[in-house]
Amino acid sequence: MILRALIILLSAALFADQPAGPAAGETRHETEQETITKCLGDLTLADNDKRLRAILILGKYKTAPATMAVLSALGDKHAPVRQAALVSLTETPVIPSFAYNGLLRRLMDADVNIRRLAASHAPTIYSRLRRVRLGKPLDELDKLNDQIVLSAFADEDVVVRRNLYDKFSILRPPAGAAQLLAGLKDPDREIRSLTIRNANMLSEDAMVEAVGPLATDEDANIRREVVRVLRGRAKAKPIMEALAEDADVSIRAEATLNLIMLGDKERTAELLELLGNPALDQAIGIRFVRSTVINAKEPILSQLLQHTRAPYREAAVSTWLQARGKGLAVERLWPFFEDHSSQIRQRAGMYTKGADWTAGELEKLATSQYSDVRAICVRLAAQKPPEVASAIIEELLFDDSDAVREAAVQHILSLQLADWAMVAEDVLETNEFNLRGWAIGTLRSKPKGRELLTELQGSTSDHALAAAIGQALKLRASRARSAVQPNVRVLQGPTTIPTTGSTTIRATGTSTIRITSPAVVPPTPQKTTKPAGERAWEK
């Protein structure tokens, strides 16, 4: 108390002779010294409100006198003043080191709100103090700090204890093992849970011994934490065997999985059965599937790859394809393309390299009910000779799916298949900007494409299109790869367009753009202009 008064008076004396600053704007604002001096004077008053006001304001000045006064207010008799001082000193992420000891004392404050706030900052403060004293003999202050921290672990308020256990690994109190053991027996569930997570700070024997009893905790979340922290510990096998009989299916599954990892392979069938339980935590099931499927042999492999629950089937197929998917035969991949999970179909689509797809198989893929399979079919067909590719891809040019039509257009233009010029004209006249941009980019890189673009640029009434083409054509020819090395593919025969009245090209949002095709399209493979009225676009 005397020390505090001395600091305040000394700080006030420091500013006594300082001149007042100039007025600023309409209201005359004091100099920093004036404001601080006024507040320091208030700190010596008996009025609680005035002392609180002084600390609230002093906390905003980072000069030494103001900060020292705030520090001394940590010991004020009025709790709101103490709290205001604590908040001021911890306002910035970097707490001033001279405040460490004072802030740590607040762990013993009579006010619970202050103890809670102090406990939130204590781990950082204490770890820094510990670092400073590293290698030095402990002095009385160090011992007092240790004592304060240890007693705070036994605070009657659960939030104070939680805040300390939450950052236990940073705090690392002296005799930490005892605190961990106490935390494992704490009546508060969250503290027990937080402590288990830090239990690996104990030696393996001590950890298994300390955590083991919690395997029968009434709270399932605690038992789940036990399973996790003991994962991979051979000494915990008996505990894990007990948990493999747990009432909670997820705990049972995770314990069983741990036992399998420890070599108890005959439990695999047990876990396979648990996969069918809808209450099982999916993450555990997926972990089991991923760890099992790579080396699984029939019939377990089939069970996993054809599991009725999609997340497990997806995990199984993805993992298995990743490990074994190179050069798979078509017949091995085929079932995946018929799966109702798009993830599986698309994953299978990534492993088609090496499989020899016949034209018949591609045609079958092209009639798949799934649009992503038809899009894969476009990609596979594009790798075939032009005559095979054209027949299949042109068919998909009028697909119901945007993605398939886009893929078909892209491949027709880039490979210059069939009547690509006519397709290009159609695409460039749509207001589907993504496709249009892509088409311009593709055509720009081909000599014939550039010719077509130039011609269209001159004839179109769409200014935006003309501008986009102009911009694309201005790009340096060296960037246009195929302009240097022209594509050798030859245009094929006439495009076969369905004879029905109209076909939807693309639907976006609520707008639909349709192409209305004539009953017969004249065979004009090299056509670059469009007879008026042949096709009409409607929006």
């Binding site: 005359r28 004091e30 609230l56 908040v87 306002e91 809808p278 798009s342 993504n434 949002g509």
Partner: protein
């Protein structure tokens, strides 16, 4: 004998009813469990080839939370849009954008065209950190660390959307707006907060779980929403712990504060901030420090206090997540 028979029948009925309830509960559990492909894909605006975005794990964490607490089945990761020129945007009913991720909010002609189509056909654009108080604007990533309750969209946003809708402007969302009630109409339990903080949060900061927000209506529907940053409260790391540590800015007053603060020295900036009622707060800062005190329109002077503790951070995370869920759910349901 008759009474005994009726008792047995009654007991049987109770038992059957009990089984039926259990079955219903089990069936409900099975129905909520989501399998197969996602039903809703949401998008995020991430301009630039580097793919950098502030709080990268925030939006995916929010999507996981929506999957967990609602029957909506969203894809676990958002689809990325580089700009509003991308026609892919029409496939997604909700686009999340962090204001700071895009350096220049001037829309190209194609973006204007696309955005108008998107918003007029039911799309929803949420611009996080689209409200950033004046004192935050000089920074590289404006408004990323301060959810300052300014009730006015950032000037850059106002200009950008003026090009779309010259006749419309962002307006503060009323506290009674249904967006705040979609899924979480109440604040989380505030009992663990320090008294001063709790009182301010419940009565002034987030009354009835509302938040400072401005909206731009298209066809009578809020189609563009901007708020101060809330994504900082969504992210969890791979261990399931919150990724950030959030502090609260609280206004505190005491007797006679005006007598001192009216003339108190300040070394930093002085700036104005728009309140919900469009009156102005005058904020005073110390040099290289957070805003220090405020003069409110009714003449009250209060000091900004910055509280940091585990329970405060946890509380903020829960609130921001609930608010995020409310925003997405509102967007999908309206």
């Amino acid at each position: 004998m008759g009474k005994v028979r009726w008792c047995v029948i009654a007991l049987l009925c109770i038992a059957v009813a009990g089984f039926a309830e259990e079955e219903a509960a089990e069936r409900e559990l099975v129905e909520i469990r989501k399998e197969g492909p996602p039903e809703v894909w949401l998008a995020q605006l991430v301009p630039g080839e580097q793919g950098f975005r502030a709080y990268a794990n925030a939006f995916p964490t929010l999507l996981a939370e929506i999957n967990r607490v609602s029957t909506i089945k969203t894809a676990p990761d958002p689809m990325i849009l580089r700009s509003f020129e991308d026609p892919e945007m029409f496939k997604y009913p909700f686009i999340y954008a962090n204001f700071a991720d895009r350096k220049d909010w001037t829309f190209s002609p194609l973006e204007i065209q696309n955005l108008k189509r998107y918003l007029e056909r039911g799309g929803f654009l949420y611009i996080d950190a689209g409200i950033n108080a004046e004192f935050l604007r000089g920074q590289g990533n404006p408004g990323q660390h301060h959810s300052f309750a300014d009730w006015s969209a950032s000037p850059a946003l106002k200009d950008a959307f003026h090009a779309l809708y010259p006749e419309k402007e962002f307006r503060p969302l009323e506290r009674e707006h249904e967006l705040y009630d979609v899924m979480y109409p109440d604040l989380p339990d505030a009992s663990l907060l320090p008294d001063t903080v709790r009182e301010f949060v419940i009565n002034e900061k987030w009354p009835e779980a509302t938040y400072s927000a401005v909206g731009l209506k298209v066809h009578g529907r809020v189609a563009v929403l901007a708020t101060p940053i809330i994504a900082m409260g969504w992210g969890r790391n791979s261990m399931g712990n919150w990724s950030t540590n959030i502090r609260f800015r609280v206004r505190e007053g005491t007797t006679g504060l005006a007598d001192y603060l009216e003339t108190a020295a300040y070394s930093g900036a002085r700036y104005e901030s728009t309140r919900e009622d469009s009156l102005k707060d005058v904020i005073y800062c110390q040099k290289q420090a957070l805003p220090s005190w405020v003069n409110e329109p009714d003449g009250t002077w209060r000091v900004f206090r910055y509280y940091g503790s585990r329970e405060i951070s946890d509380y903020a995370h829960v609130f921001y997540t609930q608010l995020g869920v409310n925003i997405v759910m509102y967007a999908l349901l309206n």
